[in-house]
Amino acid sequence: MHPAPSIIVFTTLSGLGYGLAAILGLGLLDPSLTLTKVAHVLALLMIAIGLLSSTLHLGNPQRAWRALSQWRSSWLSREGVMAILTFLPLLWSAWASVIESRYLVLPGLLGTVLAGVTVYCTAMIYASLKSVQAWHTPLTPLCYLLFAAAGGSLLGAFFAMAGRNSGLFLLLLALLFTIAAWVVKIAWRRNMDGLVPLSTPETATGLGNIGRVRLFERPHMTENYLTREMGFRIARKHAVKLRRLALLLGGLLPAALVFMLLVTTVAGAGGGLAAILAMTLAVISHIIGMLAERWLFFAEARHAVMNYYGG
């Protein structure tokens, strides 16, 4: 599948935004600190920019509101509806923190739950497509949820460090979620690498009982919408490198930094500028790793239609 930048930015940013919002909703950061207020605004901004970016690839964005109507059958519609619903408790919580320096339990917890549901809906857009076999597994929404939780708790830990809180619990969460997310992601990749194709050129043409089927001529000499949108192929050696890079930057480096901070905090030597710098590095590295991971999520997935195009 073609890795469209607008969709990669959308899934990465909204995942981080909802993750941070979910952490804020748990009330783990002191609501009266300026940094917590900044965190609320940042979460809302990331979500909003992500959603806006997702409308960039639409052919007729001025009608985007119509996408809220078919929630009974469409995961994309459900995602739109949930994104809007989730804004209500998130704005309420942000207001409480930014203006009143308070943490409110009801909108807080509601926001955490709805943020999770929204991320789940996003993932189900992909996971529900039988035509893209690599995505069509319950591991896909699990990955999305765990990566959102990992990104959110990393950001949460960053704000805790920067606000000179000990942030022990957030550091622990960040470590656990980062490890869990990558364990599931690696299982997801194993699943993809081991797939026996559900559809083949033989089943696609129905000619399998005569013999092996091979594309002889494409319908047109040039590319078309389908081959551009679904015929993306990544060289194997590049895929291997990018996979390593994603794991290193998105998982290993942030987890190692968080682990070190945990140890120093427990030893009573935590905090200080070094800790803030370490968390900044962890967050930036995680975001770059996630962009690579999302790029691969699309680039490596094969669509059934390629059985008709020799790909």
Partner: protein
Amino acid sequence: MTLLPALPTPKKLGLVIDLDVCVGCHACVVNCKEWNTGGYGSALSDQAPYGADVSGAWLNRVHTFEVVPEGGEIVGEAGEARIVHFPKSCLHCEDAPCVTVCPTGASYKRAEDGIVLVDEDMCIGCGLCAWACPYGAREMDLAAGVMKKCTLCIDRIYNETMEEADRQPACVRTCPANARHFGDFSDPQSAVSIMTMERGGMDLMPEQGTRPVNKYLPPRPRKSLAAGAPLMPLAENTDGAKGFFAWLDGVLERI
């Protein structure tokens, strides 16, 4: 409304495509584009139409496949490779995944005859339906920003201002080889139902669970070239000659 209608629909309109007969001339492809660029919805645009990198939206395309049976790699050995021309347009699936994923309600399956359509005034051009279709039957029109697909020529088949014979999809009407047939699959006596039964009409990618309405008739088994050779009478052989030829044969034999 992107929920599917109650199935089966009273009529089940669709196509039968005969892979034994298709000669791959692309006449259906051209006539489809010709009709539909001026018919239902926005025109079917082309990008860089006179450039080297021309591309555009088409609702029907003909692929060509080579089918190689076991041992068929060497000419004249067991089973020969054969070429099969393969027209493909929307199959108007009963369990159409393209319809249920649509967030806007632009995509729908008609309750009365099962035709799958896009209401272009509602389509936001998100492209998700094209992702959901395993057959590649939907293409985005890059000029209008809306999804295009085969309408089964809904503006022809019910069009009473046209001659009866023309109330067929453009591809069916134009096929010079008669490889495409249009009809109602819910009627077991219809020509398309009978053809499908007699020739073992098949579904494409049944494993995707889409339950396509359109059926493909497999190519008939082919005799090998070698098997056909003895049928050719040899010029030296006069054994079967009768009447005048027997007399002539006798005369020529004697002199």
